[in-house]
Symmetry: C2
Subunit: 372 residues, 2 copies
């Protein structure tokens, strides 16, 4: 049968995640992989899950297994509202922060609409915007929204200064557009001082996306959106179509984890672990990388970003690197125009620490061979 | 701020679920509600959840808390494939069966495209199709797909005969369109003989949607799609944008519940309970309903459907019914043209059995007053 004719006009714009495609083909545990964006498994509160589950069932009974409200269960919305100092009516729970991006795309974007975003851009967001046939560009005089990860950007690892955030807000007000502030890493700061969030600078036009993936566990697909009630009202109606409601049992687990204080205790351990791994990676880069290789110094998050001599093509180099036993994500995948082939994203949260030195050594020697 | 200008062209087509709107306003536990479509809480394996969770963590460790494959974890796909006798490559796990409907709409429907569906139609499906600005109609010479719940239809409770299923397949082949066979209730049969599924009659053009909501618990948002690999491949790429992957921990809980045999044991108890409730409701309708009221006799599922004298308007009657202490869903909500105001849907799975007789009595006396 010829199935091609059945697909909608959006389908040709669907972009496969090169990262997920790598995972389909290669057993990453067998090599030194700096490719994924996974949190370290050591940060998951495995030992606490059984008691969390028991206290969820004791407290909420069958309610924890039944359908729930489309906006999320009231207890979790309340906990998020308190943590971030906003009214409950401004909190929508999502089935992952990726769904937050998707639902914003669905509620705001028509084919041809403009999303403003600075390159390099988070791949999951690029996928969503393109799937709705929006244009993702860096400068325009009209736009539906500005998309930004101000804290420890994925992929670059960079953090926006207060002045840069104020500039985003000024631009959004000038263009009269919204801001989608994607904040999955905001609580993972290892050094430097926190900068005020864009939502706090422009609450009237910002949708801030949060995630439990990096502060609890990604196996629970849970995130949230904080934003103006008028916008959340349409997101609520849209979410009825998407999946009726976020996973209820998982929401109660997250509630227990958060309100008991266990989340904050776990977060301190996570921060200590990731700070160590960031420092280790930076020291290894300094030790092994040949001249002409530069990297960002992330104050938090999971990634750093390498810029290599112009002669190196990280896409072309990828299969050689894999064969040698090291994986990364080529930087050009994060560019809306596929440019910047001399860049790559390295993840420091997930890799086994014992593999970090051999991995960076391998990568450095490959780069030394291929930079003229 | 005027937020209206930010919304996409799809937004005016978003339809609020009148059922979910009722739940927002009324404490249904205080009245006799036949309105929702919830499974009975007694059917949830509450006592087994802690040991399921423990064995998931013992068997899969941190993998159960990490990101997973977009298609679903291999263990659950394998279990579903075995249960339904299909290859693993034809199974996509979804974050709820509602997401199955949404992703099919997204991958196949353009604005203006035709979905064929017989009235009355499941509301969640109507919401999804309309949100993509598709036309939902009963007869047409061109269509993207035919949408059908052949077993114990929501809302009508009716089951299609083999001949009716063959007629659907014949029509789909004539129009060269797909079939979306929505099967959330298929395993809940209380009497009569199983009829072959449409997927088995036309595997080359059928996407069959399954759900754990009625055979495990809806608080885990888990379903699946069985269909041709070529179609699932695009659904897989689309699902990356939606939420990256289905909830991983919940998928492992479902796997354990299924492969241990606990699901089938629990299903037998669920069937016995619901059969009793169906029989009770039918006997109460026979006892109390005035002349001129007719109902379907469902062989399974959660609903039956009442047809009243033409003079009764169930939408107009609704507030009176609520004030008197009984809730239902007006049938016209399930009609694409809002017609059939003299019908209603009654749910028999969720209501406290002690409330069933007073509820049906109340409803019968209201109907007797309002039928001329």
């Amino acid at each position: 049968m010829d199935y091609g004719k059945f697909f909608s006009a959006d389908v040709p714009s669907f972009l496969r995640s090169p990262v997920r495609e790598i995972f389909r083909k290669v057993d990453l545990s067998a090599i030194c992989s700096f490719a994924g964006g996974y949190p370290a498994a050591d940060t998951f509160p495995v030992a606490e899950i059984p008691s969390l589950a028991a206290s969820v069932l004791a407290k909420y009974g069958t309610k924890a297994l039944q359908y729930g409200a489309t906006q999320g269960v009231p207890e979790l919305r309340e906990a998020i509202a308190q943590r971030y100092g906003v009214p409950v009516s401004q909190v929508q729970i999502t089935t992952s922060s990726q769904q937050g991006i998707d639902v914003c795309s669905r509620v705001f974007l028509n084919p041809g609409d403009v999303v403003l975003a600075h390159n390099p851009v988070y791949l999951g967001a690029l996928q969503s915007f393109r799937a709705y046939r929006a244009q993702v560009i860096e400068y325009a005089s009209q736009a539906k929204f500005i998309y930004v990860i101000p804290d420890f950007n994925n992929p670059s690892g960079e953090t926006m200064s207060l002045e840069e955030r104020q500039e985003i807000v000024r631009l959004a007000r000038e263009l009269d557009c919204l801001i989608v502030e994607d904040s999955p890493y905001r609580e993972l700061r290892y050094s430097g001082e926190p900068v005020v969030s864009i939502r706090e600078l422009a609450p009237e036009r910002t949708l801030q996306l949060g995630s439990f993936s990096k502060i609890f566990a990604p196996g629970f697909r849970l995130g949230w959106i904080i934003g103006p009630e008028e916008l959340l009202e349409q997101i609520y109606v849209c979410k009825q179509c998407l999946d009726l409601c976020p996973p209820v049992f998982d929401q109660y687990l997250a509630t227990e984890f958060l309100v008991s204080g266990a989340l904050d205790r776990n977060l301190q351990k996570t921060i200590a672990l990731y700070k160590h791994r960031r420092d280790l990676m930076v020291s290894l880069l300094e030790k092994y990388m040949p001249a002409g290789v530069h990297w960002t110094y992330p104050e938090g998050g999971l990634f750093l970003w390498l810029t290599l001599p112009e002669s190196v093509d990280t896409v072309a180099l990828y299969d050689k690197a894999l064969a040698a036993g090291v994986a990364y994500v080529a930087g050009s995948f994060f560019y809306t125009d596929g440019s910047h082939c001399n860049t790559m994203r390295l993840n420091f949260s997930f890799i086994d620490e014992a593999k970090m030195e051999p991995g960076i050594k391998l990568l450095a020697s490959l780069l030394a061979q291929h930079a003229d």
